[in-house]
């Protein structure tokens, strides 16, 4: 622990609210004049499963890419398990498992050799590597196809290989960018079940982006809704859907309210 003696007291008292798994303050990403993310702040506790919602182009993927260290932020701070993603990048990346929108697969490899390769990249200790790879393959239901070429696998299996890759080093934080996009209903159910199982261990923080509201309903405990790079809503799912409202109603309401708000601003 890097925390000094002075901090240990606050740590004890904050037992109910342990140090956040993901901490984001005033995050901003600009591409020239265009701001993809503007002033995003949130914090996620360990073990939380958060649905990251928003229309296309809202900045979900950009935010996730910043969190995983793929692209740098223009402004703001982000910490993964206490490690600053910029100044302490390698340690922060060790704590993250990331499944990008298109799984980063080498088509000529087999799932077994690919997951082993990723385990080496992610610094899984040599002695544990074999077991870690086996566990990831097993959890993602890849044992029967472990020695097939990835290029021959169906889209659902590829998505599972992508997921196995993300969890092989048992990261504290799992970042999943639209994990069920383009899958058929059965595959979607399987992948969701898998994510729920991962979350059920309780130690895994999951942040997943999607625009399928049913998915959030099925897996998440908390919803973060962003729109045009800004935070639009951040609430526990139970409160949002309390009183018999469906998530869809809430979503539409927030989005339209935002729009009228914006157009009023423009008019002024």
């Amino acid at each position: 622990m890097k925390l000094g003696g002075a901090n240990s007291l606050t740590q004890d008292t904050a037992a109910a609210d342990p140090s956040p798994a993901i901490e984001v303050e005033d995050l901003e990403k600009r591409y020239g004049d265009f701001a993809a993310v503007r002033g995003l702040s949130f914090s996620i506790r360990p073990g939380e499963v958060v649905g990251f919602l928003g229309p296309n182009g809202a900045g979900k993927t950009t935010t996730m890419r910043i969190l995983t260290g793929f692209i740098p932020a223009t402004n703001g701070v982000a910490r993964i398990a206490g490690h600053d993603i910029f100044s302490d990048a390698l340690n922060a990346r060790r704590c993250v498992g990331y499944l990008p929108e298109t799984p980063p697969l080498y088509p000529e490899m087999t799932p077994a050799s690919y997951v082993d390769f990723v385990a080496r990249l992610k610094d899984v200790p040599r002695k544990e590597r074999r077991d870690a790879v086996e566990r990831a393959l097993e959890r993602c239901g890849l044992v029967e196809v472990r020695n097939r070429e990835i290029r021959q696998l169906s889209k659902g299996f590829r998505q599972r290989v992508g997921l196995a890759q993300a969890i092989v080093h048992e990261p504290a934080v799992l970042v999943l960018d639209e994990p069920t996009v383009g899958l058929d209903p059965i595959q979607i159910r399987e992948i969701r079940g898998l994510i729920r199982d991962l979350a059920a261990t309780g130690r895994q923080t999951v942040i997943l982006s999607t625009h399928i509201l049913a998915e959030v309903d099925a897996i998440c405990q908390r919803v973060i809704l962003i729109d045009r790079g800004r935070m639009a809503l951040d609430e526990p799912l139970a409160e949002l859907t309390g009183g018999g409202r469906s998530l869809e109603e809430v979503f539409t309401k927030v989005m339209t309210r935002d729009e009228t708000h914006e157009s009023a601003e423009d008019a002024a």
Binding site: L105, F117, L121
Partner: protein, 266 residues
């Protein structure tokens, strides 16, 4: 640092499941065999003719190193310029095309480790290519008595040149996601650096007469591979030549690292 081996060995394995590696190795072996046979027959022919005319002076000057091995390795170097781009074109470009750069760059891996991993994968491949070339002079040791040191110097020259060309290939592959563009860019860079630089200097100085040979022209000439490999093929191992290979390799790897790093910020 341990990631370098991880990345390099994965890359090499992938190279050997792709048809490109086998096409290149087949062409390389066939061309090497043909060239070797041609130079062997030519050598024999000249020797016979010299004997026919009783030209003992000429016979005494002929030897396997200067008249067979050296031109053979020299011509394989020219073939290398055309075949190597096919091997290096995908090193970084295919990562971007596959989306696997997102995996590498979000792993606890430094960009230097990625660049060196790619470089060593290519280097491993050219070691194999050089070994194929080495096989042919090795035959001569069975039937004749070439000079070992001179032969090894020639092979070392080919290997070092290949390493610096792999570095150029890594750089060219890192500027694009399109393998064809990477191929053409590598080929053009290799042709310019390998062969054309002296001609460019000559053409630009052609009107100015011999007195205008400036330090700049000298420097440009030094950048060309041609003179460095020639001297080493003759068995001269000069620090200046070794420095040349080290500097080109390091320079282009640094460029590749810079390109990959800056692509993040866009």
């Amino acid at each position: 640092m341990r990631h370098i081996g991880t990345i390099a060995s994965r890359e090499l394995k992938s190279l050997f499941v792709s048809p490109v590696a086998y096409v290149v190795l087949t062409l390389w072996s066939v061309i090497a065999g043909t060239f070797f046979l041609a130079s062997l027959l030519g050598f024999n022919e000249r020797l016979m003719r010299a004997q026919q005319f009783q030209a003992f002076q000429a016979i005494s000057e002929m030897n396997l190193n200067d008249h067979l091995i050296e031109p053979f390795i020299g011509s394989m170097w020219v073939i290398l310029l055309f075949l190597l781009p096919a091997i290096t074109m995908g090193l970084v470009a295919s990562e971007k095309a596959n989306g696997t750069d997102e995996l590498l760059l979000t792993s606890p891996v430094t960009i230097w480790e990625i660049v060196f991993g790619k470089f060593f994968a290519g280097a491993g491949f050219v070691v194999l290519m050089s070994a194929i070339v080495a096989f042919f002079p090795a035959i001569l040791f069975y039937y004749g008595e070439p000079e070992l040191g001179k032969t090894l110097a020639g092979l070392l020259a080919l290997l070092l040149v290949s390493f610096s060309y792999v570095a150029i290939g890594v750089f060219a592959s890192s500027v694009t996601r399109n393998q064809l563009i990477a191929f053409v860019l590598t080929l053009v860079l290799l042709l310019i650096i390998g062969m054309m630089l002296p001609f460019i200097v000559d053409i630009s100085l052609s009107g100015a007469g011999p007195s205008s040979e400036s330090g700049f022209a000298e420097a440009i000439r030094w950048l060309s591979t041609g003179s460095h490999i020639d001297r080493m093929l003759q068995g001269l191992i000069d620090t200046s030549d070794l420095a040349y290979y080290a500097i080109t390799s390091a320079g282009f790897l640094l460029l590749a690292k810079t390109v990959i790093e800056s692509s993040r910020w866009r």
